[in-house]
């Protein structure tokens, strides 16, 4: 397998010397495709003798040189950290002595299974994720629809909608932490004015999750609204005219013209928000003001990102932190894989419902 991926691939220009030798070796172990490649190489080799002097030597490598920076950076900042994290996750590594890694195999992953703090963080992440993503995207849709209407000072409204996104998460969260203060916070003051009992926003298992979610919603709604707005403006106006001629109300136009037009944008925002929700870190960290990375006294708003940070940089267990990081990646992959599968099943189901039900029927019969 690795042999076929040596640098002397199909795109490699033919060159005499050691390269040719390795190609010959490749042809020996290679398959039919590989042989074909060799033939192509020979053909181009036949072409080259005519023009070796006219092409500067560098031009042959120029395309590689031009794309190299991307691959170098991707390798250094994309692949290497990923691989290093995977390696770390298979070892017992402490920040006090990162060079002394003790191989533990999958132990760090196995222990996650009965790590109550990990499951707590996973549930918190999911709950906060739903509590923040769903309202955020619905609100964004509404805001985008309003901004799409021709009105005076549209530009100003758009800037206002985007302002939270431009605010630093630290500043915003610190203000929210004050807003949700138990004794002197504005939220409780407002509840008091409305005649309701004050809420302990830090300690309440649901209240704290709601509070953290509200920061996320506040911060990201405008950003998503702008994406929706851009997509809305690409929907052909004739469609609306046609729909109006057919007697569709504004609401039906929104449902049957706007929403289908927004499908790619909605998919994109759902994807990005899901990734963001899985990695949520800054908001819960800062919302807990003094309490480090525990995410509240009872870990009631400790997300996976926060638990990872706590294990790595507070408890100094790099191996365990790395395992959590990889678990987060796996969760995302599984989530998106499941979504794709569902969509696939859905599509196939529409196309060949008969076959599908027949198979299901057969399975059911076998089971009984």
């Amino acid at each position: 397998m690795t042999e076929t991926h040596t640098p002397t691939g199909p795109a490699d220009p033919p060159a005499p010397g050691p390269g040719a030798g390795s190609r010959a070796r490749g042809a020996r172990v290679g398959t039919g495709r590989r042989a074909d490649r060799g033939a192509r190489g020979a053909r181009s080799a036949r072409r080259t003798p005519g023009a070796p002097r006219r092409t500067p030597v560098g031009s042959r490598w120029a395309p590689y040189a031009l794309v190299a920076p991307f691959f170098l950076f991707f390798g250094a900042f994309g692949v290497f950290p990923l691989a290093a994290t995977a390696w770390t996750s298979l070892h017992r590594v402490e920040l006090t002595a990162p060079a002394e890694a003790e191989w533990v195999g999958l132990h760090n992953y196995a222990r996650l299974l009965d790590d109550a703090f990990f499951w707590n963080a996973l549930v918190n992440t999911a709950v906060i994720g739903v509590l923040s993503t769903v309202p955020q995207l619905l609100l964004a849709l509404g805001v985008a629809h309003l901004l799409d209407v021709r009105l005076r000072g549209r530009g100003l409204f758009r800037v206002v909608a985007l302002a939270p996104y431009a605010t630093s998460v630290a500043a915003a969260t610190l203000v929210f932490a004050l807003f949700y203060g138990r004794d002197n916070g504005m939220a409780n003051w407002a509840l008091g004015v409305a005649g309701l009992a004050p809420v302990d926003w830090q300690n309440g298992p649901w209240a704290s999750k709601l509070a953290v979610s509200s920061i996320v919603v506040w911060r990201w709604t405008g950003y998503n609204a702008l994406i929706y707005l851009a997509a809305m403006q690409t929907v052909p106006r004739e469609l609306y005219e046609a729909a109006a001629l057919d007697g569709a109300s504004r609401w039906r136009q929104f449902l049957h013209v706007t929403l289908p037009g927004l499908r790619p944008a909605i998919l994109f925002t759902v994807l990005v928000s899901t990734i963001g929700a899985t990695q949520l870190f800054g908001e819960p960290l800062l919302f807990g003001s003094g309490a480090g990375a525990s995410g509240g006294a009872d870990h009631q708003f400790q997300t996976l990102g926060l638990y990872l940070y706590e294990q790595g940089w507070v408890n100094l267990h790099l191996g365990r932190a790395a395992a959590i990081a990889w678990a987060m990646l796996v969760i995302l992959v599984v989530l998106f894989g499941a979504a794709r599968l569902l969509r696939g099943v859905h599509a196939r189901g529409l196309l060949a419902r008969g076959a599908f039900t027949r198979r299901a029927f057969a399975r059911g019969k076998r089971a009984s």
Binding site: L95, T96, P98, V169, R182, N203, A291, W313
Partner: protein, 446 residues
């Protein structure tokens, strides 16, 4: 709770940078690069020739720069320039210090270490730090014996020189005490609870009977617990370095006493070093707080001008210590001899006295206690309380409790996971204790 100076907002950028920096550093298996790799290359040159630039890495507002000690040193040594790098929070500073030490780069010539981390640094970084015990200008007998012992590694070499300590007193509001019918003169207040923390609880119960509306006796149960544990002869580790937090009766006693404060409604149910706590100082919500010497400046800052003349300082029931720091000299530094001399000078009694006079950090060098700037020190904000005398007495009485590698983590978990729930959510002390023990076991990977 060993962590001090948790003041100031978290700088998320710093965290992000740290995450990035430490990930690559933490995963690398490279051996230590050549010594001095991380020392800034640029050195100012003055007319007389080359000057050496020494950097000092600290966390929080450490005070050395603010007290003008670097300026004095540079005046005394024209060939030396001193620069400081600072991170706001120790929980950001410390992991970074560890990565820099293990990588052997990015280090300052002199680095500060908090007492909650000192045992871990000495146990795991022994080979990466220079011995300072016999550095020129260091006099072991000038320091409190327990502080000197904390800076000495298991192999007997002293690698860390003490800067300040946190001897405890109780800061109290005279006006609230008067309205509750308690004595207000600091001697009489000290006698209220002298010798026993349970008398402090009894005073709280007395206060509650006639408490001014909207006020509580003390700020938080966690604060009480930190103070009581700080006066115990054994805390989380025994002399052999075994973790005994789960079985040490002194810790359990402190826990039960602090829980009693919470259960009897004597606390304002606050969490220390959070915005709510800061506001409570300004609003005068509680009448007492167990205060190490370094907290006085914090109280003055948060309570503001309105609190002037209302606060006072009385002796704590038993002498104890909470917090304090050390200076170490990494072996990877380029100017190790000069750095050792600077560290020795900064921690010498005379300079510690200056630091106390200007910044309120109490000297760990007991030789400084006889100097007039400490012995006769009074704090104008706290009703001219003789703070030098009060804290020196407390410092001399602090038991020589061994500190363990995870002291800071254990203390923080007990306070922020365990006692905080008893105080703020009404969780039963028994169940919260179990939660804290479980969190400690998980954090310590046991």
């Amino acid at each position: 709770m060993g962590s001090r100076r948790r003041n100031g907002p978290v700088v998320v950028l710093a965290l992000a940078l740290l995450l990035g920096a430490t990930l690559s550093g933490g995963c690398a298996t490279d051996p230590a690069p050549p010594p001095g790799a991380g020392v800034p290359a640029r050195e100012p040159v003055d007319g007389s020739g080359r000057r050496i630039t020494l950097t000092v890495g600290v966390f929080g507002t450490f005070g050395l720069q603010e007290a003008g000690l670097y300026d004095t040193y540079m005046r005394l040594h024209p060939d030396i320039a001193v620069r400081q790098t600072s991170l706001t929070r120790n929980d950001v500073y410390y992991p970074q210090l560890l990565t820099h030490l293990t990588a052997g780069s990015g280090l300052a010539d002199v680095q500060a270490v908090e007492v909650g981390n000192i045992a871990e640094v000495l146990a795991t970084q022994t080979g990466r730090l220079d011995a300072l015990g016999s550095a020129p200008g260091v006099d072991p007998s000038a320091f409190l014996p327990w502080k000197w012992a904390q800076g000495t590694a298991p192999d007997g070499r002293t690698l860390a020189l003490g800067t300040d300590i946190g001897p405890q007193a109780v800061c109290y509001r005279k006006d609230l005490f008067a309205r509750a019918g308690l004595p207000t003169e600091r001697g009489a207040v000290g006698r209220l609870w002298a010798g026993d923390w349970r008398k402090y609880l009894a005073a709280g119960v007395r206060y509650r009977e006639r408490a001014p509306k909207g006020t509580a006796f003390t700020d938080s149960a966690s604060g009480v617990m930190a103070a009581v544990t700080g006066s115990a002869a054994l805390r989380y580790y025994d002399e052999r370095g075994e973790l005994i937090v789960a079985v040490n009766p002194a810790v359990r006693e402190a826990w039960n006493l602090a829980a009693a404060f919470a259960r009897q409604g004597l606390t304002a149910r606050l969490q220390q070093f959070t915005p709510g706590w800061d506001q409570a100082f300004a609003n005068g919500v509680f009448a007492t707080v167990a205060c190490p010497a370094w907290m006085l400046g914090y109280i003055q800052d948060k309570a503001g001008p309105a609190g002037r003349g209302r606060w006072d300082v009385a002796a704590a029931p038993r002498p104890g210590n909470w917090g304090g720091s050390f200076l170490v000299v990494p072996s990877a530094g380029r100017h190790r001899a000069e750095a050792a001399r600077l560290a020795a000078w900064l921690t010498a009694p005379a300079q510690q006295a200056v630091l106390f006079e200007r910044r309120g950090s109490f000297p760990s060098a007991s030789a400084a206690y006889a100097l007039p700037s400490v012995a006769d020190a009074r704090h104008p904000y706290f009703g001219d309380a003789p703070v030098g005398e009060i804290f020196a007495a407390a410092a001399r009485g602090v038991p020589r409790a061994p500190v363990g590698p995870k002291d800071a983590l254990v203390a923080q978990t007990l306070a922020d996971v365990g006692m905080l729930q008893v105080d703020q959510t009404g969780r039963s002390p028994e169940s919260a204790w179990k939660a804290a023990m479980k969190a400690i076991d998980n954090a310590l990977d046991r």
